[in-house]
Assembly symmetry: C2
Homo-oligomer: 765 residues x 2
């Protein structure tokens, strides 16, 4: 088998696919179980594929899609956390598998709508409540879903001599993995276990002797994972299904059901589950298409990770799976009973050097663990998987129990108390989520606008797919519809000619004029000769000179107080580099505002101010810039909504004109501008004015978008004095691909939920 795998791994780098499910409790600021409803923004619990509830109304379940890379699943788990953490200002997310301090009466079973599925989901939970009690249901965990790529399994199949059907072969592979996982699961529990302590309020649920080691804190001093052990959630009797074939498996499960031990296969709380394509028709689907993936259920939430599981542990599970695939099985008959014994021993007493059983023979935990790790390390070398660091870290946990999560958690809780220590962690993650609010971890290569849109889609349970990453081309699917979107605002809602009208400044102006919307008067100049003919009329008048087509502000010169012929000719030549046709337009006085119009509504209004600092009478300009740059919204190279201010040569010259330098100490409240242009890209500030601009201008912006038939439109309007409703104005430009992040995350003013507006414009609810 090793050689076969070796052969295939060389050609197909990504053979593995994994997804994470993670449960967690919503608690209030004091750590009490939230009594609030599941946030309505997450939509129907039965339909949101990413965010739903588990047993209780306050028990969030996060579900990542399946990914080929561990990093992707890891990032996505963090993204889901960020989204949920930001939804309720007051609440926190309990970062532990074992529940917070709860009273039975506080537990609200999750509520569902009155659909058939909704009623069933509710009834199922009510039954569980009755049979196992509420507290136990609140235990949260990580489920790790994994499979090998079909292509990889096909590769193995093709190397096989003795041919069965592909489906049978695939089942054989996965069943072997299940058996091996069950055999070696004690190692996973040891390495990843993170529930060594329970609170007094949970004590009665435990079937093991415990002592108090702090206020309300109980342990036996040796446990790795009470959740997997005798405080956890398990069947009333031990259940050992037959994993020799799918048929035998189904037959054996049927017996347990017929015997009245369990209601259905969902109630087998074994540490691994096999999953078919169609979960709703478990048996039928399993028989028809075989096993689709495996679900490992014994992983505790790692409180030291926002997403609940560390990347290194995900890497380990990946290589561990290859081990399970390759490792030959012994023919020891009672392996299932033995495996359960080892499981229990490690869970409840694993911090000690316990003795385990291997094919009926005793073996010390450490010895066996190191043996397995060494075998895995051999695989790592043979297959060039590059996982040495990961394996070394695991070895550290084995050779010194102080490196386990369990040990560290005991120390932490002892020091800070059960409730406090967890709340402190939850607050820290919430702050991280806040600082991440403008982005989608792991998707930073996408434009911010696309990240914002996807984040909002995930929140609402709209499935997304990236079809072309470099192009920011995605699909959004939900509510029975499929929408393609490029760069967040290029959608099916706009028609092509609207876009082309906006792209062409001459056409834009003519259309707006036709609709009696004020635009700067102007002329088109195609040659120097033409410019000279018209020069007389232009000299000394306030004008803007710009290339006919450009969206990036390049080649534009503004003469607010007019200019001489020479300067005009120079400016014309600059503009002519960008387009054969140059526009010379009257300059309309006032300030420029960007109106973001989406679907005939104003989504945001923004004004941009050049890079600047405000004095405090103490710090130098250099220091003030440094302070301002610490804002997490400021970064470099457009990965954040704002850019850091650079104290470059331009800034130096601009200050020199004001008789200042970087070491100048501005007085309190003195505003010092560091450059002329107000581009965000050179450190400019964006300021939200949405609530301050009079209705008249909002209507004009909406009418302008309507005039070209645009659903997504950035309207650039000069307004002489925004406070005066009757002020002069003029529309400078319409933009068909307006940036949205500047409105979502301005430097100053209210953050606008543009992602929501886009989704609504697309027809998603």
């Amino acid at each position: 088998m090793l050689n076969k795998v070796k052969n295939l791994i060389k050609k197909e780098m990504l053979i593995h696919s994994c997804g994470i499910e993670r449960e967690m409790l919503r608690v209030d600021g004091k750590g009490r179980l939230s009594q609030k409803d599941h946030p309505p923004v997450f939509g129907n619990k039965l339909k949101n594929p990413y965010i739903t509830t588990d047993f209780a109304e306050s028990q969030i379940e996060l579900v990542t899609p399946a990914f080929k890379k561990a990093e992707e699943a890891y990032n996505f788990a963090n993204i889901l956390y960020d989204i949920v953490a930001m939804e309720d200002e007051e609440e926190l997310l309990w970062p532990q598998s074992m529940p917070n301090i709860i009273k039975e009466e506080e537990i609200r079973i999750a509520e569902y709508d009155k659909s058939e599925d909704g009623i069933e989901a509710r009834e199922y939970r009510e039954e569980l409540m009755e049979r196992y009690g509420g507290k136990k249901q609140l235990i949260s965990g990580i489920h790790y879903n994994c499979s090998f790529e079909d292509k990889f399994i096909e590769g193995l199949y093709n190397l096989e001599e003795d041919k069965t059907s592909f489906k049978d072969f695939k089942n054989k592979i996965y069943l072997k993995m299940i058996r091996n996982y069950l055999r070696y699961r004690w190692l996973v529990i040891y390495l990843l276990g993170a529930t060594p302590i329970i609170h007094e309020s949970y004590k009665d649920e435990c079937k093991i002797e415990l002592k108090e080691i702090g206020e309300g804190i109980y342990t036996n001093g040796k446990a790795i994972s009470f959740r997997n052990g005798h405080c956890g959630y398990r069947n009333k009797i031990d259940i050992f299904p037959d994993y020799t074939s799918i048929e035998n498996y189904l037959k054996s499960v049927r017996k347990f059901i017929d015997g009245g031990y369990i209601r259905d296969h969902k109630e087998i709380y074994n540490p691994v589950r096999l999953k078919p394509i169609d979960k709703a028709n478990f048996e039928k689907s399993l028989l028809k298409d075989g096993i689709k993936y495996l679900e490992y259920r014994g992983i505790d939430i790692n409180p030291f990770e926002k997403g609940g599981i560390s990347l290194i542990d995900l890497y380990f599970l990946q290589i561990f799976n290859i081990y399970l695939l390759i490792k030959d099985e012994s023919d020891y008959e009672n392996w299932q009973i033995e495996a359960l014994k080892n499981h229990d021993k490690i869970s409840d007493f694993g911090l000690e050097e316990v003795i385990l059983l291997k094919d009926g023979k005793e073996i010390p935990k450490t010895q066996w663990a190191l043996e397995i790790l060494e075998e895995i390390n051999q695989l790592n070398i043979e297959l060039s998987l590059g996982m040495k660091d990961v394996l070394d870290k695991m070895k550290d946990r084995i050779v010194d129990y102080k490196n386990t999560y369990a040990y560290k958690i005991v120390q932490l809780i002892k020091k800070e108390g059960y409730n406090n220590s967890h709340l402190k962690i939850a607050k820290k993650y919430k702050e991280e989520s806040y600082n991440n609010r403008y982005k989608l971890e792991g998707y930073e290569d996408l434009e911010l606008s696309t990240q914002i849109l996807i984040k909002e889609a995930i929140k609402r349970g709209i499935e997304f797919n990236i079809i072309d990453r470099g192009d920011n081309f995605i699909t959004l699917e939900g509510d029975g519809k499929l929408e393609y979107v490029k760069q967040a605002t290029k959608t099916s809602k706009d028609n092509y000619i609207s876009v082309l009208m906006m792209e062409n400044k001459t056409v834009t102006k003519r259309v707006l004029e036709k609709h009696n919307i004020r635009v700067p008067k102007g002329i088109e100049v195609n040659s120097l000769e033409e410019l000279k003919v018209n020069l007389e009329d232009i000299i000394n008048k306030p004008i803007v000179i710009k290339p006919k087509s450009t969206n990036f502000g390049l080649g534009i010169n503004i003469f607010k107080d007019g200019a001489q012929g020479k300067d005009i000719i120079n400016a014309w030549e600059m503009a002519a580099k960008h387009d054969n046709t140059v526009l010379i337009e009257e300059f309309i006085k006032g300030k420029e505002y960007r109106f973001l119009v989406i679907d005939n509504k104003i989504s945001g209004i923004l004004h941009r101010v050049p890079a600047n600092v405000i004095g405090n009478g103490i710090n130098t300009i250099r220091e003030l810039v440094e302070l301002k740059n610490q804002d997490p919204l400021r970064g470099r190279n457009y990965v954040t909504p704002l850019e850091k201010i650079n104290l470059d040569e331009n800034a130096r010259l601009f200050l020199k004109l004001q008789d200042k330098d970087f070491e100048y100490v501005p007085e309190k409240d003195e505003v010092v501008y560091l450059r002329e242009n107000s581009n965000i890209s050179t450190g400019g500030d964006s300021i939200d004015y949405t609530d301050y601009i009079p209705k008249r201008f909002k209507n004009i912006a909406i009418q302008a978008a309507k005039a070209v038939g645009a659903i997504f439109c950035g309207v650039d309007m000069m307004i002489e004095d925004y406070k005066d409703e009757n002020s002069d104005y003029g529309i400078i430009e319409l933009n068909f691909n307006p940036a949205i992040h500047i409105h979502s995350y301005p430097y100053k003013g209210k953050e606008r939920n543009i992602g929501k507006d886009i989704l609504e414009a697309l027809g998603f609810n």
Copy 2:
């Protein structure tokens, strides 16, 4: 006045605006008046602003819009001729003001729909028939509509000291021009007159002594313009309205109406008419807004011009208008009667050296004419109008009557007969129209596709406007709707994301695959490293290597029989110059066909063949190319549907590979290819296959367009054997801006009316 004009003309180059109306009779191949209906494609006669009927059903009236440049009006008159000439294969357009050989009973009064306007139009014509007879109504002519730009008149107004209202000032200007036009109109008749002969069948309409100078050909031997003289169309009594003010004008006309001499102002058949903005409310509009433009009605159709009037004559009328504006009037009282006398004398006897009356004094025609021309020439010099050539030509007509149109027409008809000479001319123009069929004269700077679309729109009476010439951005207006169109197929009908899906080859493929449409399998390669990893799978297989985004065929390499690693790497590097991402796809066997899908229907299917010649056993390749290049559809630089073949270095090398050179004489029916690529731009042939491709592939193309939601879509499909419906196929690319001229005017096969399909897709009928 001269100095004022001088001042203004320097700043505003285009002060003048003019449009042409031209009537003409449809006749059959033998010159008999057509009995067919007005071609239905021209739509409702009351609504098509460009093509309608005049008095008779077979009397076409062409109307150009108003243009600032004489050339534009000239070109448009030719365009309208081209359009009408191409509409009926058998018919010809009579190229003379005086009608063809007609019998009274052949004259069908134009028919209208049963709308109020339609009934009125019909009744008006029936009344005319009764009062003036049918034959006279068939006389056709040119009406020249002209005005000065408002800006120019404003300029004059601003220089005025004694201020009246602007409207009064404008009326004053135009009324002076009218009076001067009436005074000097004899000169226009002399210079442009072209009806010196009538046919026997018309003889009874004439109130002048005539003699037969050939079979059925009658003249007095001295006439310049019978149409303007006593064979023409005039009021029963002489009518001299008062042109001193608008109010006086209306008062005087009222008197003629009240006296029963005319029915309304429309019936004043004077050589000039004043026109208000709202023609339907003549008086009211005139009083409210004053004169909008003047209509000169005395111009004969010039049979030597397809459009009915020569460019030089249009130039003359332009400068003549400036003369009318500037020329001071004498205070001679009886000028109107005198002017009419001069008019009649020139019309009926102008070829002779007649004596005219100038302010009551006799003056020989030639002397006075040269005096006027000299005054105009002085204007030309003072205002730097550059019209010397034009004026010299006019002088030629004065000093030698043999240079007049009238004289030349007499000679022609004498030689070739009345019917024959005119039919010969009509046939020549029809051939010209045919050779022009793919283009719009005077609009050759627009893309062919746009020219084709506009031509079809004009034909159907859909008004067009060019909003941005360089961008091929136009509007189409009619049937109560306004559509913006860029480059003929970029319209409001396509949504933006459809376009972006087609632009991105990866997205296109994924969407088509999702719809179970076959596309070549392939991979995306972003780096040389990635290429090397995949190289093994690609070597020696038939593949295409191309940049991810390109619409111009640049950077594409095809290895039909596979290639070695080195060649693949080279091809990858070439493609990578055009896009960071390179696609490597399987090569699907067969030939490539372009399906033009418009609004879910197949508009055309085309296959392109590399530049080639077919031997005749006699000519060399060089000679065959020369012959093939004579096709009027072949030109250079994309102004024609096909490009001329170049015998360049590429062709030489390609022939060398076949052991041939330019002097090789191919055998009869031997096809010699001159290059490998089939681009039209390098002389390739386009061949229409629309009627030969099986329905299955047509459906697939339609489904492909539907998959991306495209209304306008060029589907590039490889088909292994088009004759076999079950043949393998694959879609290579979807194009969102498909060229249409290649289908409209292929090298071989049926010409497809794509313009019509576009207009229908846009919702025009």
